[in-house]
Amino acid sequence: MRRLFMTAALILAMTGSGGCLFEPREAEKPSGTDQYPWVVPNVYNDALHNLTTGLASNVDSNYQRSLDDATFAFFPTTADATNIGADKFAGWNKAVELKWLDRIKTLYSGARTIRFGDASGNFTSKIEQVSRVVLEGEYEIDLEPTAGAPKEVYAGIARFTLIQGTQGWVMSEWTDLEASGPHPTAGYLRGTLRQTL
């Protein structure tokens, strides 16, 4: 029993110490402010709004807090999986998405916008129940490599599943269904810019 308490004390000391185990680097004082405020996600549209501002902003917190920790997954179209390689999409979860987001923000330092739904924000299909909504329709991502440069357009038709978790509404699944028009899909953007993890 004595050994048990000693071991338990060691575990508590490790977990409760909160920072003494590792030495992270010191952060500099902030030199600017983020112009994209966080909207408390009380309805599912708030989560879509936070994802939009999270992509536009140079910092990631709005985007990161709008994806469900446990269930977020991205699924590509069959065509993208065939053309780019299914391995580029394997296990696409929140951690992979955030790494990809880092690379997007590095490569596209100009304006970044994302539109969920058609030009009026409508979806072709909506199934809404308590704590869960499934939206199906168009989306468009516009990215400028540098400020003012011609934008690259990524568009398609996708199914978005949003759930109301303990932290409010978050996105749980993004399933690309197919391309729409002459533009590459969000799956193409994700697959070609996946960072190793």
Binding site: I11, R25, I127, S131
Partner: protein, 667 residues
């Protein structure tokens, strides 16, 4: 037309199998004559029965030679209705030959979109083998798949994949060169067909060989193995009148492995290298829309990749109470793409890990683990995305049993991930991520009551180093306590109560005005009743209460100001009754109601400004029926009527029939 051909093929296959079976049964005439005699006569004749017993094995042998199986199914879900047929015929042709024929037709109708998918497959395979010596397989087949596109520009058009394929594979498995096991395999494949926007013709060949030796060194077993392989492919693609190719692709691989020692004290090492050159025709940016109108926009991609991996791990148990595992992994990969240059990258990964299991008493053990790794991802000299990542992880776990039944489990871990961008001047996104986790669970059964308590604590820090991003630095906290009590007052009843209190909050280090807190409390009650063997009843009620708000620094410390609250009730009832073996009916009903409050301030007090209520639910009533007809087949039915309601539901989902039914016949 294709459906008719598919259906005709199925009927033909069935007719052939019936004909074959008739011939076989005719060959077993004495048996049939005897059976007929028995059928014609109402008398029970002992002699006849004896004859039947004698001849029965002949009939069984005939059944084993050819085994046709036909399966038809209907599946109906909330999104689509599918139905299809499949016939498989396996024939033991004797002298080591096995023939397999398969035909299938599947059709899927989507509920929300007026579109259909159609798939048809046809496959013939002949295999011959001799155990311990060789195996040869030859197959020809066709796959057809048609679907409609909904995308702009191609709306309503068909996307068709239709490929014919012939394949020959030979495996020589008799050990050679004094090896314990060896394998020599060659394969060839010829294929042609339409793949959406292009028509491909290709032929491919491959050869692989491997040798494994089981030896002994200093009295301990030593296994050494290795293998090489290579493949090549030549493909020609036609897009409209434009021809690409022949495009040559090839790949080769080399691997070696070694294992030394028994399982409890072993050293394993494996090394493998892959080189791949892949050439193919691609639509521009992965989208076939433009290439259909202008085939000249098709691009000829050339991808070269090389991967080398070394894995070494060892397991030792120096004492009966102590086990040590060590793992080392090194991998290098490099890939270059001619058209999609963003896919080009090289990486180098190293990781080292150690785990110790210490059995400090017969009733308890503790585990310590340490892992460290460094990965470099390089996207080329001009890329700003190249970075180096370091990871350190420390973990500890404890299992302790107290007395006969009480058990305690505790786990703790800490990790630090550091991202260093190689061009930090132009891309100052360096960040550290610090994570701590601790959980304790306790389980105590006492007579008819079992108690489980789980406590969890997490702390995740995001530390952006540069001042441009450090305003986003934050710490996410999570605390959770979850006691679960299960009571079994009688063998036919079990009641479970699950409580959960969870507090999650985000604390921004520099910009405190973004701080945010969630408090969630829930209680769930579940009761299972099985008063009779055939009747079961499940009742589940959950209540969830959550409030959300800002968590800001005030004059007297941090002040929580709730902005929103949620109260949710959900109720589920399920009734099941088994009418007869293989036949049961079920009825379930679910209901959720959620009130969302928005808070405001009035004269220094928090008041509810308004409340929004959502309701949703549904019911499902159905039956399952399974019936086996001896060796001749079975019927499985699972049919239910479903009704749903909610704030917004499509008419297709509001009311539909759910089915998962199949009929299988064996001839």
């Amino acid at each position: 037309m294709r459906t008719r051909i598919g259906t005709a093929a199925i009927l033909l296959a069935l007719a052939c199998s019936m004909l074959w079976r008739t011939e076989i049964l005719a060959a077993a005439a004495p048996s049939d004559t005897t059976s007929k005699t028995k059928a014609d006569s109402t008398k029970v004749n002992t002699a006849t029965d004896t004859t039947r017993t004698k001849t029965a094995p002949d009939t069984t042998k005939a059944h084993e030679r050819i085994a046709p199986v036909a399966k038809s199914y209907v599946t109906s879900t909330s999104s689509d209705i599918s139905f299809g047929n499949r016939v498989d015929i396996t024939t033991d042709a004797g002298k080591g030959w096995t023939l397999m024929n398969s035909v299938s037709v599947d059709r899927r109708q989507y509920r929300q979109n007026k579109i259909q998918d159609l798939s048809e497959t046809f496959m013939n395979q002949a295999a011959k083998g001799r155990p311990g010596l060789y195996a040869a397989v030859f197959s020809i087949g066709e796959n057809y798949h048609k679907t409609k596109t909904l995308g702009l520009g191609r709306f309503g058009q068909d996307i068709i994949f239709d490929n014919e394929d012939a394949n020959l594979a030979l495996n020589y498995i008799k050990p050679v060169l004094k090896a314990s096991t060896s394998k020599l395999a060659v394969a060839g494949d010829v294929r042609r067909g339409l793949n959406d926007f292009k028509y491909d013709r290709d032929f491919a060949g491959s050869g692989t060989s491997s040798l494994n030796y089981a030896l002994s060194l200093f009295g301990s077993p030593l296994t050494v193995g290795g293998g090489v392989g290579g493949s090549l492919k030549r493909e020609t693609s036609d897009i409209g009148r434009r021809r690409f190719g022949p495009l040559r692709s090839n790949a080769d691989t080399l691997n070696a492995s070694m294992t030394y020692g028994p399982d409890a004290k072993a050293l394993n090492a494996t090394y493998s290298v892959y080189n791949v050159l892949d050439r193919k025709v691609m639509p521009p940016l992965g989208n076939t829309y433009e290439v259909l109108n202008d085939p000249s926009k098709a691009q000829q991609e050339e991808a070269r990749s090389r991967v080398a991996e070394l894995d070494v791990n060892s397991t030792t148990q120096p004492f009966s109470f102590l086990g040590l595992d060590l793992k080392y992994k090194h991998s290098v990969s490099d890939s270059k793409y001619k058209v999609d240059t963003r896919l080009s990258s090289s990486s180098k990964d190293n990781s080292l890990g150690a785990t110790a299991n210490y059995l400090y008493a017969s009733s308890g053990s503790v585990r310590f683990s340490v892992t460290t790794s460094e990965d470099i991802s390089d996207y080329g000299p001009v890329s700003l995305s190249s970075y180096r990542e370091r990871k350190h992880l420390v973990g500890v776990g404890l299992n302790q049993t107290i007395g006969d039944s009480v058990s305690v489990t505790a786990n703790g871990s800490g990790s630090l991930r550091q991202d260093f961008y190689l061009n930090r001047v132009q891309n100052p996104r360096d960040a550290d991520y610090l994570y701590y986790h601790g959980d304790v669970s306790f389980r105590a059964p006492f007579r008819k009551i079992t108690t489980n308590v789980t406590m969890l604590s997490e702390r995740y820090s995001t530390i952006n180093i540069d001042g441009t991003f450090s305003g986003d630095n934050r710490i996410d906290y999570k605390y959770q306590v979850e006691p679960v009590i299960t009571v079994r007052p009688a063998p036919w009843i079990a009641i479970t109560q699950d409580y959960m209190v969870k507090i999650e909050y985000t604390e921004f280090v520099f910009t405190a005005d973004k701080n945010y807190l969630n408090r969630t409390t829930s209680v769930s009650t579940e009761a299972n009743f099985a008063p009779m063997g055939a009747l079961s009843f499940l009742f589940r009620h959950s209540y969830l209460m959550r409030d959300t708000g800002s968590y800001l620094q005030g004059d007297v410390g941090k002040v929580y100001s709730p902005t929103n609250g949620t109260r949710e009730h959900s109720l589920d009832l399920t009734l099941g009754y088994q009418l007869a073996p293989g036949f049961s009916v079920t009825m379930s009903d679910g209901f959720k109601i959620q009130d969302n409050d928005v808070f405001g301030g009035l004269n220094g007090r928090v008041i509810t400004l308004y409340t929004t209520t959502f309701k949703s639910g549904g019911m499902r009533a159905g039956f399952t029926k399974t019936k086996k007809y001896g060796d001749y087949g079975e019927i499985a039915l699972d049919v239910a009527y479903v009704r749903n309601y909610g704030p917004f539901i499509t008419p297709q989902l509001r009311e539909y029939v759910e089915a998962n039914s199949a009929v299988t016949l064996r001839f």
